[in-house]
Symmetry: C2
Subunit: 146 residues, 2 copies
């Protein structure tokens, strides 16, 4: 699939690419605002407080990266999905100035055992900045809405 | 551990409870604002658009529940942790009026193989509303900062 072609989740097939040409740019202000609301730890709250942490300088909360990744996924235009479960890793933290996109594939598709009118898909994608640094790896298990 | 006793992650032991007495209350306005920023899908954007979805009425983005869960976890006062990976499920969606808390345990603790000066802990906790409905189950793998 390509960006902005709205498709139903059930139309996707194993091997289909999940690629967002669209990039979201991350600012220090947005990183700090998200942290104040949801993850008020020193590494995320200010440049000054971050310097005393393993991050060494301001780094986005992993949950901020996860939320931005969802925005990019929604931008792919996949309609009719319900999130079941998700696994994330954060190889490196998102930094101010990052321009993020996602790239990945549909890796599994099967009928739901409990609801045979629904399909279960596994989507695997990475959140990557403009230098190719991987900020998040996601494996999402999603169900069609029938 | 109990709320507001700040402890280093490395001081936790297997079996220690992770319980937030503190509750965060979720409003429709906050659900819609988060959705506009990060997950602009009909079920999360307004009461009206949600009615045509499997959610039937306004439901928070799972990523919003995840972010609120992080706020509760930070409120436990566990210092010096770095998130490595996390797995989430959303048995039911967070709804307007939910007052959320978290409850769980430390389920594993071992030395890091790649960095023997660090420890790896597994934290498992649920995000629960005032009626006992489970909105999120989380398994988080975290590392001490050494």
């Amino acid at each position: 699939m390509t960006m902005n072609d709205e498709v139903r989740l059930g139309e996707l097939r194993v091997g289909d690419r999940l690629y967002s040409g669209e990039e979201v740019e991350v600012t220090a202000e947005e990183i700090m605002a998200f942290a104040r609301d949801y993850d008020p730890q020193p590494g995320h709250l200010s440049e000054e407080t971050a310097q005393g942490t393993p991050f060494m300088s301001l780094a986005a909360s992993g949950w901020h990266t996860a939320a931005l990744t969802m925005r990019l996924l929604v931008g792919l235009g996949i309609a009719g999905s319900i999130g079941i479960s998700v696994s994330l890793t954060w190889p490196t933290p998102t930094r101010p100035g990052d321009r993020l996109h996602i790239d990945g594939h549909v890796t599994s598709k099967r009928l739901s055992e409990s609801r045979p009118d629904r399909e279960i898909l596994i989507l695997e994608y990475e959140t990557i900045n403009q230098s190719g640094e991987i900020r998040q790896r996601t494996q999402a298990v999603v169900m069609t809405q029938g």
